[in-house]
Symmetry: C2
């Protein structure tokens, strides 16, 4: 069996300028792995209409799910919802269901929905809403594209609501063995082990700490017995 696949599109100049260190990609990657969905590609694009539309339309035919983060707030630079509508060639307007949800965030309900706030109730035609337990302004899903906020705790709460509704893949099992040898010494034996376990992904992630080389060797796959056997093969190969 093959697990579902996903791509992520991170939208925001603040990541590309180096002002902010991305947190949502790291969070999503871990959550998807736990859910048996293989995150296969990430793109970070600027707050630019053409770039966002292209990223959505180039990725959505290739993966089971596309997750976006960023650009769904009320300010002038929040253009993600419009870009998603453009990518799908559908209309976008303030929608009653989104307005109702959004109104619950304000003391006087709908009476407090200023034009700026109403921007957050603009939803592309045909989309369903994603719950936002923190600030109410919803995300949305249209076909296989899940559109979520960029603020990390809001991204996380939206994902927590969404993920249980998506088909789970088989559990990915992994084992990590730290080997305090340079990768050039590890390479030969590890290459043979990788060939012997074609059903697993076998990776070597080198580090350089305190003037010494080493690598974390990671075996991953859905065949738990094979993971255990490959882990043992690595330990045997390096006398661990």
């Amino acid at each position: 069996m093959t697990n579902p696949t996903a791509a992520m599109i991170v939208i925001g100049d603040e990541i590309l300028s180096g002002r902010t260190r991305d947190a949502n990609m790291f969070h999503l990657a871990g959550q998807l792995t736990n859910h048996g969905i293989a995150l296969t590609e990430v793109r970070v694009v600027s707050d630019d209409r053409d770039a966002i539309v292209a990223a959505i339309n180039e990725t959505r035919p290739k993966y089971d799910h596309i997750f976006t983060s960023g650009g769904i707030g009320p300010t002038h630079d929040d253009i993600t919802a419009d870009c998603v509508a453009a990518a799908f060639g559908v209309g976008i307007d303030v929608r009653e269901d989104a307005k109702t949800v959004l109104a619950t965030n304000y003391e006087n309900g709908a009476a407090d929905l200023t034009p700026a706030r109403l921007r957050m109730a603009r939803i592309p035609d045909g989309a369903t809403l994603i719950d936002n337990a923190i600030s109410k302004a919803p995300g949305f899903t249209i076909e296989n594209v899940h559109v979520m906020a960029g603020v990390p705790n809001i991204f996380a709460t939206m994902l927590e609501w969404l993920l249980p509704q998506l088909a789970k893949g088989a559990d990915m099992i992994s084992a990590t063995v730290r080997v305090d040898l340079p990768e050039s010494t590890i390479a030969g034996p590890l290459g043979i082990i990788a060939k012997n376990f074609p059903q697993l992904s076998v990776g070597s992630y080198p580090f350089y700490e305190e003037n010494a080389y080493g690598a974390n060797l990671v075996v991953r796959g859905i065949d738990a017995d094979a993971v255990v056997a490959a882990e043992q093969a690595i330990k045997d190969a390096f006398d661990l």
Copy 2:
């Protein structure tokens, strides 16, 4: 004038699986901003030949520079150099200049270059070497593609050597104003300021801390006077 543009390609399953939080993207973004080069797109791809070749060939015609990180070590999963050669349609083999540099890392010089170590001296035809002050194994530049290591301190040392050789763009000036109001209150006045300063990028980066909303408003551009004026306009608009 327009500053040079760049894209980054991060190569590695460990980022996509959530095992490792990316550090090189954040580092590169900050360094390029300081050098007046606009990082405009980032792609994270898996250790997959087709994915790596496609990412290189789709981005290199669009940007002045492409920076890659990861996949140039000696193990079986290090396939970046071969993928770059394939993307450019050129040959790849162990090269004498790379071998000479690499040999300086070992006690007995070239006599210590085992087949696994020699893999790190395989360089696509026509590429020039990038210096690696830490572990010697070189990166390389071919046309506008700069291929560097994934280990963060080695990535950083390669970039430190490379960046001064690339044409510098105009300094990007930025100012940040923290406003402790919800974005929906900020949106109206900020939209007007963004329109009044078309030569700047005006961004709103919301946060939610201790049960209160706020946003960092960031103005960026190469026109220092305009940045100062826009910063003041923001302070005036929100009585700061």
